[in-house]
């Protein structure tokens, strides 16, 4: 993991700057506060939709979800309905899911295989490679090829793939995907290298929605401080099954550009990498063999980086990669300030033995997802924050960051470490702060929202 500990390309002072008044950062007092309007206000949400979701790379899906030509999924990102499809040439495409004619949702199925997409409204038909295939009564239209070409499906401006993870951007001007991913790219590569034949998603997507702001889901994933109290019952289950759990010497890393990584060495076994009793005796033998395979293929140092620690990677703004007992890809889609849609896929090793696959999936379902033993308590936490942060709304008479101010959430824990580098203890709030700093720079100043409004006396 040394590649992550080294200083980033971003200069320290730039990394530590904030970009709007919704963040109150005081380097003398070592306090960091987030104004709660950031979770509540429509104006903030609308600005995020534009400045973040409209102008950066967004995680769309994994290549293995559409393995064959014509395989498609429909999906919504940044509020825009999309068709995610492997076209007749085998190329991964993402189209705006709207008929170029009148804007009708073109594909109304959640998934399937299709050579063509036909709009039911006026029967315009498009090849899965985007070209117009048929247009009823075309005599009434101009007959030149430029006109026909202008009726092709609208692709997203940018599409990029890293290690099978497919990203899109609604802005042509975004930097190249690898540049955007920065240090997160190598963490994704580590996860992708776990299986000797690669990794694949399996069917069965956990789709659920949370009554909480999307940023609460990000905070929660990067926040080791909540693990023991929130997941008391799950930790109890792990201990009962014979696995020691501890929070010592665990670190979280600011990967730059809003990306973050929590590295957890003290809890959760790792199937095929770190054995724990609940995985069974047969898996113990296989784990030893699997480790030898990893070392032979990746070298001892890289194998240790891949295998010895659980990791939770956040790729700004909507991808979470849980590399724990098993692997889960989680995608966030903000719907309203207080509502977030979540989709989660299980990622597995290609060609692994059936019993290992079964163990992996069972183990993951026991922990993550809305029916697991842990995620429901996380969801309860996001939802409880969303319900609670209205209590102090507009009770901010003095503005600024004085002690009398109420409408702020505190994220100061371990802040002194931020000055020493991009790595801090996972049970501190350093990665949450780096996320918020980046967020505030992207969103920019929001006149009339938050403390400025209060300073003006809260005039409606």
């Amino acid at each position: 993991m040394t590649m992550i500990d080294s200083p980033g390309a971003t200069a320290v002072d730039e990394r530590l700057e904030v970009g709007n008044t919704l963040i109150a950062q005081d380097w003398e007092a070592l306090t960091f506060k987030v104004h709660r309007s950031a979770y509540r206000e429509n104006a903030v949400f609308n600005r995020e939709r534009n400045e973040i979701w409209g102008h950066t790379w967004l995680y769309l899906g994994h290549e293995t979800e559409i393995p064959e030509a014509g395989d498609f999924k429909t999906r919504t990102l940044g509020g825009r309905p999309l068709i995610f499809v492997r076209d007749r040439h085998g190329t991964v495409q993402a189209y705006l899911n709207a008929c170029p004619h009148r804007g009708t949702i073109l594909c109304r199925e959640p998934e399937g295989r299709a050579k063509n997409f036909q709009c039911f409204y006026h029967a315009w038909t498009f090849k899965n490679s985007g070209e117009l295939a048929a247009l009823p009564d075309s005599d009434a239209y101009p007959q030149d090829s430029a006109f026909v070409e202008s009726l092709s499906l609208r692709t997203v401006p940018r599409l990029g793939i890293h290690e099978g993870f497919v990203f899109v951007a609604f802005d042509e001007q975004v930097p190249d995907l690898l540049e955007h991913l920065g240090k997160a790219a190598d963490v994704m590569s580590m996860t992708a290298s776990i299986g000797p034949s690669g990794m694949t998603t399996v069917p069965g997507v956990q789709r659920y929605s949370v009554k909480g702001n999307w940023k609460l889901a990000v905070e929660n994933a990067m926040d080791g401080y909540h693990f023991a109290p929130t997941h008391n019952t799950f930790v109890g289950y792990l201990r009962e099954t014979g696995f020691a759990v501890n929070d010592d010497a665990q670190y979280a890393h600011d990967l730059g550009d809003g990306h973050g990584l929590a590295v957890l060495t003290g809890h959760n076994g790792r199937i095929g990498m770190i054995w724990e009793p609940r995985f069974g005796e047969r898996e113990k033998i296989r784990t030893e063999a699997k480790r030898k395979e990893l070392v032979a293929r990746l070298g001892a140092e890289r194998a240790a980086a891949v295998a010895d620690s659980s990791k939770i990677l956040f790729v700004f703004p909507n991808l979470l990669l849980f590399d724990l007992e098993a692997l889960t890809i989680r995608q966030l889609e903000p719907v309203e300030p207080g509502v977030t849609d979540v989709r989660a896929w299980q990622l597995v090793e290609r060609d692994e033995p059936d019993d290992v696959r079964a163990l992996r999936l069972k183990t993951m379902a026991s922990f993550v997802g809305p029916g697991g033993l842990a995620t429901p308590d996380d969801i309860e936490a996001y939802e409880a924050v969303q319900r609670g942060v209205v209590a102090t709304a507009d009770l901010d008479p003095f503005g600024g960051f004085a002690d009398t101010d109420l409408d702020w959430s505190d994220m100061s824990r371990g802040m002194a470490d931020d000055l020493t580098g991009p790595r801090g203890r996972s049970i501190d709030e350093g990665v949450m702060r780096s996320f918020w700093r980046h967020w505030s720079r992207r969103v920019g100043e929001l006149p009339g929202i938050g403390p400025d409004a209060s300073r003006l006396g809260g005039v409606a």
Binding site: G204, V205, Y237, A344, D354, A358, K362, A365, G371, P376
Partner: protein, 184 residues
């Protein structure tokens, strides 16, 4: 429903065979299955989880597939719930703890079970399907879970027990707030 079926041993989803003496090839009519499911619904609505556990053959499993139901089992697909017997018991222990934050305080639930059918019988194993509507209320929110049960029961001399308890949702996704923190 044949009462003269050849007795075949129940095989649990985890591949083990439960104690033989418990199985019975006695006849079962729908009313008995309905009574079993209604009693189960009452135990869950009243949060009598220890009573609820006695409705299982030890070693039994519980499943809830995801809403894009693929026809695959939990060994090949992502699931919401894929509990073996250890996890069923861990779930109950968790839900009885006041540290199960997602269910503290408990949701109020009201279950309607209907359209009960006995679809298959082999020895002491009985496949049962039914429709359910679970209305759940918590934190000022109302959540409706609609689906069907696809259970495998073991016929015992004194009653019925779950070998596999499987709830298949009809919902397209879990609506905002509608996590499965309770027993569906």
């Amino acid at each position: 429903m044949s009462t003269g079926a050849v007795h075949t041993s129940a095989v649990l989803p985890n591949g083990t065979v439960p104690p033989q003496e418990q199985g019975s090839d006695r006849a079962v009519v729908r009313a008995e299955v309905e009574d079993f499911l209604f009693a189960e619904a009452a135990a869950l609505d009243e949060w009598r989880l220890d009573d609820w556990l006695t409705l299982f053959v030890p070693g039994a499993a519980m499943q809830v597939p995801t809403t894009d139901v693929t026809g695959l089992g939990p060994e090949n697909a992502g699931y919401f719930v894929a509990d073996d017997w250890d996890l069923v018991r861990a779930r109950v222990k968790r839900l009885k703890s006041r540290k199960a934050h997602a269910e503290n305080p408990h949701s109020r639930t009201n279950r309607l079970v209907s359209n009960v059918r006995l679809t298959e019988r082999a020895g002491d194993q009985l496949r049962v399907s039914a429709n359910f509507v679970v209305n759940r209320f918590r934190d000022g929110g109302e959540f409706t879970y609609v689906g069907r049960y696809d259970h495998l029961l073991q016929v015992q001399p004194d009653g019925l027990r779950f070998l596999l308890r499987r709830s298949v949702l009809t919902n397209e996704s879990m609506n905002p707030g509608a996590r499965l923190s309770f027993i569906l």
